[in-house]
C-alpha cells in the first residue's frame, strides 16, 4: 500500500472517530438524486457514458477522477446548467426526489432553486456584499427589507463569514479576498435555501487556510444540505466526504463509501488513481 493511501486511511479513521465521538448513528438515508443510464454528448464528444449513481440526502458525495473525465459535466447535469452549452444531448434519467429532471416538463428554474451551485472560481456579482446575498431572494420575489436583512445575516453566518464582513456589508464584494469571496458565494447559495449544493472544485483557486475553512464549512452544512463536491484533492475527498465516486473517461468506475474507496478499492484503476499513479 502506498504512502498516500496510508495517509488516506488515517484521515478516514480520524473522521470515523470524530463521528463516533459525536454519537452519529449510521442509518439508512433517503436518496436525493438517482441517476440511471445517463449518457451525454457535447455535439460529437461522448462525455458521460451510462452513468448509474444514487446519491443520498444529507451526505457529502465526492466526485474524483482525472481531468476531462466528466466530473463537471456530471454535476452540471444535476442542475441542468449543462444545457447552456449549445449542442448538448442527453439520454437516460436523473430523478430528483422521485421526479425525472431531464424531462422537459421539469422547469429548470424550479430545479435550480432547490439545487444550488458553487463554482470553481469565486463568481460574486460586481455589487455590494449585501446585494450579492439578496440577489437570490429578490429574484424569487422577496421584497421586504426586514426579511432580506435577516436572510443576509443568516446566510453569512451559515457560511462562517459574518464576523469578517458584518461591518462592510455595503462595500463591493470584489474587495474581499479569494477565500472570502468563495464563502460569500456559498452564502449567496444558502440564501435561496436549496436542498442540495453542488460544488465544482470550490477550493481549487484558494490557499490552504481558506481551503480548510471551506472544508469545515462543508462539514457543518452537511447537517442541513446534501452536498455533491468535485475535487482533485484526494485528501480533501477523504477528509470531508461520506461517499466517493471515481470517474474515468466519462464512466463511473467505482462508487461507494469513502472509507472503502480509499482504503480498499475494488478496481485497480481506482487504486492507481488515488495512489497518484495517473491523473
Amino acid at each position: 500500500m502506498s504512502v498516500v493511501m496510508m495517509e488516506n486511511k488515517m484521515t478516514v479513521q480520524l473522521n470515523q472517530e470524530k463521528e463516533q465521538s459525536a454519537g452519529t448513528a449510521i442509518e439508512e438515508k433517503d436518496v436525493v438524486f438517482n441517476t440511471k443510464e445517463l449518457n451525454l454528448w457535447y455535439s460529437e464528444t461522448h462525455a458521460l457514458k451510462n452513468i448509474n449513481l444514487s446519491i443520498n440526502e444529507k451526505e457529502v458525495t465526492a466526485i474524483i477522477g482525472p481531468s476531462g473525465c466528466g466530473k463537471s459535466t456530471y454535476i452540471k447535469t444535476l442542475n441542468r446548467m449543462v444545457e447552456l452549452v449549445p449542442g448538448v444531448r442527453t439520454t437516460g434519467e436523473i430523478t430528483y426526489k422521485g421526479k425525472n429532471i431531464l424531462d422537459r416538463s421539469f422547469r429548470v428554474e424550479d430545479l435550480r432553486t432547490q439545487v444550488g451551485m458553487v463554482f470553481q472560481k469565486p463568481n460574486p456579482f460586481p455589487k455590494s456584499i449585501y446585494e450579492n446575498i439578496v440577489y437570490g431572494p429578490k429574484i424569487h420575489g422577496i421584497r421586504n427589507k426586514k426579511i432580506l436583512d435577516e436572510i443576509v445575516e443568516q446566510s453569512l453566518k451559515g457560511a462562517y463569514i459574518w464576523d469578517e464582513v458584518k461591518d462592510r456589508l455595503h462595500e463591493n464584494a470584489y474587495g474581499l479576498s479569494g477565500g472570502q469571496q468563495q464563502r460569500l458565494c456559498i452564502a449567496r447559495c444558502l440564501a435561496v435555501q436549496p436542498d442540495v449544493i453542488l460544488m465544482d472544485e470550490p477550493t481549487s483557486a484558494l490557499d490552504p487556510k481558506s481551503t480548510l475553512k471551506i472544508e469545515e464549512l462543508i462539514q457543518q452544512l452537511k447537517k442541513d444540505y446534501s452536498i455533491i463536491i468535485v475535487t482533485h484533492n484526494m485528501q480533501q475527498a477523504a477528509r470531508i466526504s461520506d461517499k466517493t465516486a471515481f470517474f474515468l473517461n466519462g464512466e463511473v468506475i467505482e462508487f461507494g463509501d469513502t472509507n472503502t474507496i480509499f482504503t480498499n478499492p475494488s478496481d485497480s484503476r481506482t487504486e492507481d488513481y488515488i495512489s497518484g499513479r495517473f491523473g
Binding site: E109, R112, F119, P124, F125, I139, H140, Y174
Partner: protein, 295 residues
C-alpha cells in the same frame, strides 16, 4: 553569446535591428501626429473664421438672409428634436436586436443571415438611407419632410452600428456572472435585466453615443429627404418641418460664393455642432465611468 555568430556579425545585425526599430517608431509617431495635425488645422481654421460670429443673437436668433442678423436657433431645435426621435428608437430597437441575437436566438441559418445583413447594412452609404427614408417615410407613409421622417431615417442609418456595438458589449460580459444567476433559479429575462444589461451598459452607452454623434453630423440623407434651410418656423413637435445644424452648414457653405460672410456663419455653426458633440461625448464618458464595474 550565440555561439554560431562571430562578434562582428553579431554587432552588425544588432545595429540593424535597433535601427529598424527606431525607424518604425518614428513612422508610427508621425502617423499619430498626422491625425493631430489635421484636427488642429481644422479647428484653427474653423475657430478663426467663425468664433467671432458666435454670440447670443446668433445662437437664439431666427434664420435671415442678412448675415448680420442670421441665427441658428431653428437648426439647433431641429437637431434636438431629431435626437428625441433617434435616441429612443435606436436604443430600444438596437439593444433589443442585440439581446435577441446574442441571448435568445438559436445559433443557426436564420440567426446567421440576420447577422450578415446587419454587418452589410453598416457599410451601406448614408445617401442610400436617405433614399429609403424618402420613399418610405416621406412618400409612402406621407409624413412629408418632418422631424419624425428625418429622425426615423437617421435611426435606420445608425442602427446597424449600435446593434453591433451592443452585441459586442453583451458578449463581453463574463459568462460566470450569468451562470451565477441561472444557478439560483433566475429566468433568462431576470438574468438579462439584473446581471447582463447592467454589466454591458457602459459599453452600450459608449456605442450609442458614438452612433448618435454620427446621426447628428449626417447631411447626405437629409438633403435627399429635402430638408430645407429656409425661413421656417421653429419646430415644435414630431410633425413639424425642420432644419438641422449640418444642413445649415451645407447651405451656407454652398452660398458663400454669393455672400462671403456665409462662410463665417458656416464656421460658427460648425463650432456649435462640435461643442454639441463634445458635450454628448463627455456625458457618455461620465456615465460610463460612473457605471463601470470591475469583474
Amino acid at each position: 553569446m550565440l555561439s554560431k555568430l562571430d562578434q562582428q556579425q553579431y554587432t552588425k545585425r544588432m545595429n540593424n535591428r535597433i535601427r529598424k526599430n527606431s525607424v518604425l517608431q518614428s513612422v508610427f509617431f508621425l502617423s499619430a501626429l498626422f491625425g493631430l495635425f489635421v484636427l488642429a488645422i481644422l479647428i484653427i481654421r474653423v475657430v478663426t473664421q467663425g468664433f467671432g460670429w458666435i454670440d447670443m443673437d446668433f445662437l437664439t436668433g431666427r434664420l435671415s438672409t442678412d448675415p448680420e442678423r442670421a441665427g441658428i436657433m431653428g437648426a439647433i431645435l431641429g437637431t434636438l428634436w431629431v435626437m428625441i426621435v433617434v435616441i429612443p428608437v435606436t436604443m430600444i430597437v438596437g439593444v433589443g436586436t442585440a439581446i435577441y441575437l446574442e441571448l435568445y436566438a438559436k445559433k443557426g441559418k436564420f440567426q446567421a443571415s440576420i447577422q450578415t445583413n446587419i454587418s452589410n447594412l453598416a457599410g451601406v452609404p448614408s445617401i442610400v438611407y436617405g433614399l429609403l427614408g424618402l420613399t418610405v417615410f416621406v412618400r409612402l407613409m406621407d409624413l412629408g419632410n418632418v422631424v419624425l421622417a428625418g429622425g426615423l431615417t437617421l435611426s435606420l442609418l445608425v442602427l446597424p452600428i449600435l446593434i453591433v456595438a451592443a452585441q459586442e458589449a453583451i458578449r463581453a460580459v463574463p459568462s460566470h456572472l450569468a451562470e451565477a444567476s441561472y444557478g439560483m433559479g433566475a429566468t433568462k429575462w431576470q438574468t438579462i435585466q439584473r446581471v447582463i444589461l447592467p454589466a454591458a451598459l457602459p459599453s452600450i452607452l459608449t456605442g450609442s453615443i458614438l452612433s448618435l454623434s454620427r446621426a447628428i453630423g449626417e447631411t447626405a440623407p437629409l438633403t435627399v429627404l429635402g430638408i430645407p434651410a429656409l425661413l421656417i418656423p421653429f419646430p415644435n413637435g414630431f410633425f413639424d418641418t425642420f432644419t438641422a445644424l449640418p444642413m445649415q452648414i451645407y447651405y451656407w457653405t454652398l452660398d458663400s460664393s454669393l455672400v462671403a460672410e456665409y462662410a463665417n456663419l458656416a464656421a460658427a455653426t460648425i463650432i456649435v455642432l462640435l461643442v454639441l458633440l463634445f458635450v454628448l461625448n463627455s456625458v457618455a464618458i461620465f456615465i460610463r465611468n460612473k457605471f463601470q464595474h470591475r469583474y
